[in-house]
């Protein structure tokens, strides 16, 4: 894929986006979400331009994922967190909230703004709804694409998934740190483990802990479940006051409890991330927070997903043959263009 210099309109739009003007950011997100032909070249050019002008684009967006059953209060919690995190006006935050699309019509009702009370003129907070587009996995291809751009503009990208299910595991590939949100004493902790869900999160949030008694019981129950499953290294003794050391947070979005602590933790994740150097798209998959898990290779994950959608197993086979050549290329659009051409050639040769 060739690389073109940006035209004046594109440059203008991108520069205004860097100043966090909302209209150009919104238009750029739409370009990154756009799946029609011809747009890949523009995305490729834009990412190329950004990587060549690192001083203009100062975001080093850390991606924070929130997943959990519908009704656990993800939107309300994120709303409270954003209020706290934007208070000092020193963090630039983008929120992507995903809602389910209708099976029959393909349309969706995107209602996360109800809790968010977003839509303010504050440039440091940008909120965008996304429809799940009927993809399994909870995080859509659109979220991946939007994140590619937003990470150069914002310090934090907060992703809210549809709601956890057997297939909703993509969030772990997408985010630098994943929180699993649960309700207190739902009694479904064991259920989660059976579903393999407990392996996803880096941290746990028990929300709706309106009273301390509820928070304490929930903490001890969750900790017991985690200990049994040996999925995460527990640091603290079984001590409610030190729950954060076990990466367990007890919050109440409505009573504004535990929000400050969680916000501080997210800030520390963001600060740690800043210390990493060499920030560009080619090492998107390196992840400082993965605690001994296999590297989260988001780009090849979505490459595989896209190829599978278009060409099925046949396509995936060729993709793995081309593994070494792909490694030489820079940028998602270039890789997918290369893979597509390779597969098309094979089809023609048959």
């Amino acid at each position: 894929m060739q690389t073109n210099p940006l035209n004046e309109n594109q440059l203008n739009q991108l520069n205004q986006a860097a100043e966090l003007k909302k209209l150009p950011i919104a238009k750029l997100i739409s370009l990154f979400e756009n799946r029609s032909e011809g747009t890949a070249q523009q995305r490729h050019d834009i990412i190329h331009h950004i990587n060549n002008n690192p001083k203009m684009f100062t975001g080093k967006g850390v991606t924070i994922g929130f997943t959990g059953t519908p009704g656990a209060g993800k939107s309300s919690l994120i709303a409270e967190l954003c209020k706290t995190l934007t208070k000092n006006n020193d963090l630039r935050i983008a929120v992507l909230a995903i809602d389910p699309s209708s099976q029959s019509s393909g349309g969706a009702i995107l209602g996360d703004r109800t809790r968010m009370h977003s839509g303010s003129k504050n440039r440091n907070l940008f909120f965008r709804s996304q429809a799940s587009n009927l993809e399994l996995g909870g995080i859509t291809h659109n979220t991946f694409q939007a994140t590619r751009l937003l990470r150069y503009l914002f310090d934090l990208i907060i992703i809210e998934t549809v709601g956890i299910g057997q297939n909703e595991i993509d969030i772990q590939y997408m985010s630098d740190h994943t929180f699993l949100l649960m309700q207190p004493l739902a009694g479904d902790q064991i259920q989660f483990m059976k579903a393999g869900i407990m392996e996803i999160p880096d941290s746990f949030v028990v929300n709706k802990c309106d009273e301390e008694r509820l928070a304490r019981t929930s903490y001890h129950m969750l900790r017991a479940s985690l200990k049994q499953s040996k999925l995460i290294i527990l640091n603290a003794k079984d001590n409610f006051e030190n729950a954060a050391k076990d990466n367990i947070f007890l919050t109440s979005a409505t009573k504004n409890k535990g929000i400050q602590e969680l916000a501080e933790f997210i800030r520390s994740i963001q600060r740690n991330h800043l210390n990493e150097d060499d920030f560009n798209e080619n090492n998107l998959n390196e992840n400082s927070q993965s605690k001994g898990k296999k590297p989260k290779d988001i780009e090849s994950f979505y490459l595989q997903k896209a190829i599978q959608e278009l060409y099925g197993k046949f396509g995936l086979g060729i993709l793995s043959q081309k593994h070494d050549s792909l490694k030489q290329l820079s940028g998602y659009e270039e890789k997918i263009a290369f893979a597509t051409t390779a597969i098309e050639q094979q089809i023609l040769r048959r």
Binding site: S36, R115, H117, G119
Partner: protein, 672 residues
């Protein structure tokens, strides 16, 4: 003395007699306190026996007339009340010791009652003589009407405060009035109307019981103060059965749940406003018949007859009614009560196996629904998790689908639509009522005068006490009455409590909902959406916004559900948004169209604000804006000149046709 016959009603001496008519009311109030006072005195002179006060939306939501958010709404759907000085004018030359005053007020009920009590005390009227009702049903506000102010728990707390205060101090006052009226307007079936309003009553009474402020006898009297405000629609036989079911269910709840021994305190006391939802913009003269038929449902059966009745006006789907329109509805009540023999008979339906079976069926289903909600944590929980709200949206979507398919016949709307134009709408004023824009200035300057003349130190002290009382969790009535006397304003009282209690946005109920419409128009719309997606690479995105204080969200909800059904991605986030909220959101979402819904009559002012905001963001003309609601034909041209691409009114009931037109607008805009 002759032996009474079965068709006669007898008095205590055994002589044949007839019943007294119900209380005749007209829901009224507009412009400002001076104009509304005139109106009330005229209505009382015409033979009306009670006052039913409509407040403007700012008063209902707790804002003073001098606040920005209030300005487009001053005097539109009711009278604006800022301070006790306003109340003195509103009730000028009206004897508040005699008149029965019903106030349609909810989020700020405690404030308006405090003003009424303060007015009585300043006039030297003993407050135990005051009689009337504050509507004060917050559950239905969260579900259907939208003038809530505080979160659910705090809202219930204030209601309990009022019951506690009134029982001993203002014993003839109904501190709250459980409303099923608005539930039906929001789409509730008779079963849901029964269940959700009874759940509301249970929620309030359980909270009173929990406070443990009354002994057994007092609690019985307190149960006796609970009254209801019910709706009656076109299926008038079923509606009559619903009223009988209501009466019986309430009696059972009072006996079983609250152990009320005295039958007097178990009586189901209710007032009625008949249904507006079924009134049509098309051939509006037909609504006069609809109102009459709906009235029969709540008057025919003596055992389930309403105690007070107010009727909508024939032209409500067009705009706010004029005094003449209201008089016409009042005359209907008078003719029914005085010209006919309706009030001479005992219950006409006792012993009818048909009625009994229907009543039992309704009761059984309602009981099951009540049980379901109570098992899941009760009324407050069912608000917070959105269960009741989504059930209402389901029913409304079902109703709309049936009207669209013609399965549900509405004369003049989807059948027999051709007719001779009504001379009633050919008046010089277009058959609609307009608020004089100059009158708002009078309200604002009266408030400024009060503020200039009051003792500021006293105001500050009263507000401080109010805040401290709220933080402590004590009863708020006395502190509120003190504020009233100190000439604290509606906005100041509310802002103080808002600061302590916080604000709340309830679930919208639209998520995951769909329609059952499958027709050619839907296919056409989906074809156009496909064309759009092929060129633009994404689904069309619509931001549906309800700006301002108007909480009537049915329209916005149905448009959201219909748009999803057609294949749009829909961004809808509830009521009471500012123009900034909507414009900023539309920009962030890169919306392809903005849909605004407005029913309060403030469309001209609010659309100005919206276009100013769009302009300031450099987005005016970049995204088309469509408008829906009660928009008089006379305003249409000016709105289009401002930049509105299309206007939809109640006669655009064919939801897919609406979507089709919106898609055309998006595609045409794209082509430019």
């Amino acid at each position: 003395m002759t032996e009474p016959q079965k068709h006669q009603i007898t008095d205590k001496d055994g002589n044949a007699t007839k019943d007294r008519p119900w209380i005749f009311r007209t829901y009224a109030g507009h412009t400002n306190v001076r104009k509304s006072n005139e109106l009330y005195r005229n209505n009382l002179a015409k033979g009306q026996t009670g006052l039913s006060i409509a407040f403007d939306l700012a008063t209902q939501c707790g804002y003073s007339s001098d606040e920005d958010i209030a300005k487009p709404e001053i005097g539109k759907v009711g009278v604006p009340i800022n301070t006790l000085d306003d109340f003195a004018i509103l009730f000028d030359n009206i004897d508040i010791a005699e008149v029965n005053t019903s106030m349609t007020i909810n989020g700020t009920s405690m404030w308006l009652l405090s003003l009424y009590v303060a007015l009585a005390e300043e006039r030297g009227v003993p407050i135990e003589k005051l009689q009337g009702t504050t509507q004060n049903d917050l559950i239905k506000e969260f579900l259907a009407r939208g003038t809530y102010v505080f979160p659910p728990e705090e809202s219930i707390k204030l209601i309990v405060d009022m019951y506690e205060f009134c029982l001993t101090n203002v014993p003839k006052w109904n501190p709250s009035n459980v409303c099923s009226y608005h539930l039906q307007e929001a789409g509730a079936t008779p079963v849901k109307e029964l269940a959700y309003s009874l759940v509301t009553a249970i929620t309030v009474l359980d909270a009173i019981k929990e406070r443990n402020c009354f002994d057994e006898e007092e609690f019985e009297r307190c149960v006796g103060r609970v009254s209801f405000f019910v709706n009656a629609g076109m299926r008038f036989i079923e509606e009559m059965c619903k009223m009988r079911a209501f009466t019986q269910l309430w009696d059972e709840i009072c006996i079983e749940r609250y152990k009320v021994k005295n039958p007097k305190y178990r009586r189901f006391r209710y007032g009625i406003q008949v249904n507006s939802l079924g009134l049509t913009e098309e051939q509006p003269e037909n609504n006069a018949w609809r109102i009459l038929i709906e009235t029969l449902g709540v008057t025919l059966s003596r055992d389930a007859r309403c105690r007070a009745l107010q009727l909508p006006a024939w032209n409500e789907a067009l705009s706010l009614p004029r005094p003449w329109d209201q008089q016409w509805s009042l005359r209907l009540q008078q003719i029914l009560a005085y010209e006919t023999d309706l009030l001479e008979y005992p219950d006409l339906f006792d012993g009818s196996p048909v009625i009994e079976s229907k009543v039992n069926d309704l009761k059984e289903q309602a009981n099951a629904e009540i049980q379901k909600i109570m098992d899941a944590g009760g009324g407050v929980e069912a608000i917070k998790n959105g269960y009741m709200k989504s059930q209402l949206v389901v029913s409304q979507a079902d109703r709309m689908s049936k009207i669209n398919s013609g399965e549900h016949i509405v004369v003049g709307k989807n059948r027999w639509t051709d007719g001779i134009e009504s001379p009633l709408v050919r008046d010089s004023d277009g058959g609609v009522f307009k608020v004089d824009p100059e009158s708002a200035a009078e309200t604002v300057s009266a408030l400024a005068a009060t503020k200039a003349n009051r003792d500021d130190a006293k105001v500050a002290e009263c507000l401080k006490t109010l805040r401290e009382t709220a933080i402590k969790g004590d009863n708020m009535m006395l502190a509120s009455i003190a504020c009233a006397k100190a000439r604290v304003s509606t906005g100041e009282w509310t802002a103080t409590l808002r600061d302590v209690y916080g604000e709340y946005r309830p679930p919208t109920g639209v998520e995951g909902q769909s329609l059952s419409i499958e027709n050619e128009t839907l296919d056409t719309v989906r074809e156009k959406i496909k064309t759009f997606m092929d060129t633009r690479g994404h689904r069309p995105r619509i931001v549906v916004g309800k700006p301002g204080l108007d909480g009537h969200s049915n329209g916005a909800e149905m448009i959201s559900v219909a748009a999803r059904h057609a294949g749009f991605d829909v961004i809808y986030f509830g009521i009471r948004l500012s123009a900034t909220d909507i414009v900023q959101s539309a920009i962030e979402e890169d919306a392809d169209v903005i849909g605004i819904s407005l029913l309060s009559g403030s469309h001209n002012e609010i659309m100005d604000q919206l276009f100013e905001e769009l302009d300031a963001e450099g987005a005016k003309g970049k995204v088309p804006v469509v408008l829906g609601g009660i928009i008089p034909q006379a305003d249409a041209e000016a709105l289009k000149e401002k930049g509105v691409s299309a206007i939809f009114t109640p006669k655009d009931y064919d939801l897919m046709e609406v979507m089709n037109r919106i898609m055309d607008i998006i595609l045409a805009h794209d082509a430019e």
